[in-house]
Symmetry: C2
Subunit: 338 residues, 2 copies
DNA sequence: CTGAAAGCGCTTACAG
DNA sequence: CTGAAAGCGCTTACAG
């Protein structure tokens, strides 16, 4: 591989001038520029990213931390962030937290070893204290609402508010005995907010009960398996807020197979508006996931600009007040299951 | 950030010894080791990955090239590869090819700038000639069958054979007028193989026709929109090989809405066995996608071992004969749509 | 506008 | 088993 030195020799210029030209520094003469461009093509020169990073302290890379890249929600988030990053010449470094056992150390390794310029965190980092020190002063944006409630810049849909709206929709369609599902998985911070919303809603709506049911996987199968439990409840529920299109889909199919009319005898609401919701004509709460990923990158990009490798104490002190929270608009899509 | 020099000063040893210890070089005394470990903890030392890469020529990173990380197939592939990579201490660098306009140059940038140690390619790289030169001698594994047919090590399901098996299944269930769907998208190399299988099957099976239909998106919506076209065909088809669970799902729902009995009057086969296929009880061809991703990484890992940064001419000459092709077993899952 | 030179933080023969 | 020293390929004040 040719180096900057080869270009310098080829053109008779110094490596300094070559470097400036490559980095679009203003003070380079027209002739020098042309000669260098020719040499670059001629020799097939490519800058060595490791050398560049070592010297400049920047990597041109951004880390993305998700529980599982194959889950539809996180896959879309990653795709959106990746697209936005590529548009600005950044590469994406992917980390999955639910890959076997996991330690704060290992998760943060790329950050601490100067492997990335910034971090996009969609996993819940619990307990936060373990991560806080290593991440302080480092550009981080989260898509996890629990982390948004700490000091972190965030892009997210409000799960508390959207759950309340979903429940209100069920009430308005004459549901009186609603089941609110939430996950027992510790990774899902939105579930805590949903549970809070279930209680708040029941308190504020006389004559409507919200029965809470827990589930341990966010898949259609889990939804199907939930159906008999649902039917065994007393009084028999007339509506379910699932918090997931996959669970809603499994439930819907099970209901139909068992001759339970949806929506007449059971109303079902999903969450996300993923392809499965559209095919099954599920009522659901739409999140613009791809755009959220892109927006998260944009926000991160901003932070990387303002806080270089060593932020001043003043900059750190100022941060809390300037922390950006982007609450993304969700939308209840009423279709044929309510 | 403390450096190796700080550790050397703290312990009174040389940077060489510290480096050896950190890299688990055998010749380090017990005392030195303990002192260094203490210092590392005490000072919170982390190796700088850029410096390490620059010096060693290795990055500890692997690139993954997919058309779109949010598509269920590629999402699962990435997740599997990422998990396997993480298990061996490698990070994943994600590249999406269908992100706006795309140039060979830009795609290969991480490779050429020594940004990764190896590449996993699931996108079709066409025309291959544009990429061949830059990639020659570099560890590459593909999951794209078209690339497997060139010189590249590969992990893939045989789309020709699996399509023939799907068609045979339809024939065995008394379908006589089959529609074979394929995508017009240039990114999907498997579609060419499917089309070849459609023709081959028709040739070998008197009394069975295979009508080819094209589609421009791999989504449930596209499947639904295909339904009227299907019904307008003469003679009316009695089965469809879709090549995609999403398309099959859209088609199935549209058929039911229009009162066409599946499977009695129309049989439908999907592909992949994604969650949507399981909920809808679709007959489909299962691919173990996550495992394919993991296997692709394992294979790549092997190549990275055998061909270091500068492979000998002999090693290159030997390669063609040793190129590994892992043909992964698929499985036809007969459910309720055939 | 340009060049000589220092140095980013490591690893690795080489010599002991 | 250990250390002194060179050097990986760049960027960036500094001096002209």
């Amino acid at each position: 591989m040719p180096t900057i030195k080869d270009i310098a020799e080829f053109t008779g210029l110094s490596t300094a001038t070559v470097s400036r030209c490559l980095n679009r520094h203003p003070y380079v003469s027209r002739e020098a520029q042309l000669a260098i461009e020719l040499a670059v093509r001629e020799l097939g020169y490519r800058p060595n990213s490791a050398a560049r990073s070592l010297r400049s302290g920047r990597t041109g890379r951004v880390g993305v931390v998700v529980p599982d890249a194959s889950h539809p929600f996180f896959a879309a988030l990653v795709a959106g962030a990746g697209q936005a990053a590529a548009a600005e010449g950044f590469d994406l470094l992917l980390q999955q937290t639910e890959t076997g056992e996991w330690h704060a150390d290992r998760l943060l390794e790329p950050v601490i070893t100067a492997g990335v310029d910034g971090l996009l965190v969609a996993s819940e980092l619990t307990p936060w204290e373990q991560y806080a020190a290593a991440l302080s002063g480092f550009p981080v944006v989260t898509c996890d609402q629990a982390l948004a409630e700490i000091d972190l810049p965030a892009v997210y849909v409000d799960h508390y508010e959207s759950t309340l709206e979903g429940l209100a929709h069920l009430r308005d369609r004459d549901s009186r005995s609603i089941v609110g599902i939430s996950s027992t998985s510790p990774a899902a911070s939105c579930d805590r907010l949903r549970r809070a919303a279930y209680r708040e809603f029941a308190l504020g709506n006389q004559g409507v009960t919200v029965h809470e049911l827990y589930i341990d996987a966010d898949t259609p199968e889990a939804g199907s398996q939930l159906f008999p439990k649902l039917m065994a409840l007393e009084p028999r529920p007339d509506a379910v807020f699932t918090g997931s299109d996959d669970i809603a889909a499994g439930l819907l199919v099970a209901a139909r197979e068992n001759g339970v009319d949806v929506p007449a005898r059971l109303k079902i609401i999903g969450f996300d508006d993923s392809p499965i919701a559209r095919v099954l004509r599920l009522t659901t709460v739409r999140q613009p996931v791809r755009r959220m990923g892109a927006r998260a990158f944009t926000l991160l990009r901003q932070l990387m600009h303002t806080s270089p490798s060593s932020p001043s104490p003043r900059a750190i002190a100022d941060r809390p007040s300037g922390v950006q929270r982007v609450r993304v608009r969700y939308k209840l899509i009423a279709r044929e299951t309510t």
